[in-house]
């Protein structure tokens, strides 16, 4: 086992090096696990939707449960206007959840523990939500930055503050997911290393910690996917129903 707990986050190339211009787009272990999680989602939902029996089998139950879970989440937070964006939020939630969960299997790679992955997801959401807001409300969307009932003298300062807090959304969204995943996996590796180095005599305490941490990490993996999706819903709600 590697002594350094950070080696689990190393990205390395699988197969030949592919370069387009200055960009290295070779297939890495990160891309491998993204493909695996997407394939797993596709397979589960294909099998789940194949036979529509009244009493569902296990895979169908899984598919239906996640479907109703996400649809309820969207209608609770963003209202009925957000229905057209169901497929996007559903696939986002499933992708993040599966990436997190695949990372829980030993010897796998956690895609979401890299800030660039989560940041690209968050930036995509941010740009999309902003574009939706401008399409729905035109330039009236800028009212989001001007809260009502503020004295004129304070207005420039408030507008700058609102803009900064709006721009901080993708960063807080991406940092949250990335930091949770990375901290959890590092901690698990560190405690695993303690088990090895303390041996049979003293290794039992860190081993029990490792078991507890694994449970906690599975909870965190689900929770972070949920938080990611629900915050997307909240931002979408801001863009669709403008009230500030």
């Amino acid at each position: 086992m590697a002594a350094n707990p950070m080696t689990q986050f190393e990205v390395y190339r699988i197969g030949p090096e592919i370069k387009i211009g200055a960009f290295d787009i070779s297939f890495t272990n990160a891309s491998l696990f993204m493909v695996i999680s997407s394939l797993a989602i596709l397979i589960i939902f294909n099998f789940g939707a194949k036979k529509n029996t009244v009493l569902p089998n296990k895979i169908q139950l899984l598919a239906e449960l996640s479907f109703t879970f996400v649809s309820k989440m969207i209608s609770d937070t963003a209202g009925s206007k957000a229905k057209p964006y169901f497929s996007f939020i559903f696939s986002l939630f499933m992708f993040v959840l599966f990436c997190n969960m695949f990372g829980m299997i030993p010897y796998t790679f956690t895609v979401t523990s890299h800030i660039i992955v989560t940041f690209i997801l968050a930036a995509f959401i941010f740009v999309g939500v902003t574009v939706i807001g401008f399409i729905k409300h035109g330039f009236g969307y800028l009212k989001l930055f001007v809260p009502s009932g503020v004295p004129i003298i304070l207005l420039p300062l408030i507008v700058i503050i609102e803009i900064i807090s709006y721009l901080s959304r993708p960063i807080s969204l991406s940092v949250r997911l990335f930091a949770n995943m990375m901290a959890g996996h590092t901690m698990m590796k560190v405690f695993g290393g303690f088990v090895i180095s303390l041996g049979v005599v003293g290794g039992w305490l860190p081993l029990s910690f490792s078991v507890a941490l694994t449970g906690l990490e599975i909870l965190v993996a689900f929770l972070q996917a949920y938080v990611f999706a629900i915050l997307t819903c909240i931002y979408l709600n801001d863009a669709l129903n403008l009230h500030h």
């Binding site: 300062l157 807090s165 960063i171």
Partner: protein, 91 residues
Amino acid sequence: MSKDQFKTRLEIAKKKVSKRNLDKKKDNQSSIGTAFKLSTELISAVAVGTIIGFILDKTFGTKPWLILIFFFIGVIAGITNVIRSAKNMQK
């Protein structure tokens, strides 16, 4: 099992599930998630403010004043963010 029997059992099961969901809703938001949400909101606003200040400083050549000003504006924005989301949680 007859069809009616199945229906009543389904009703009972549904009621149980909805009741359980209601109970869950109260402590649904795990405290780790909430704590992390608040802290990242505070930090990211400060980071964004500082980055904006840095960029403006570079373009106008007014080092180090704008970065200082925007750092504090970022802190204010972060605190308003935290207050806002804390208010949302209490709803």
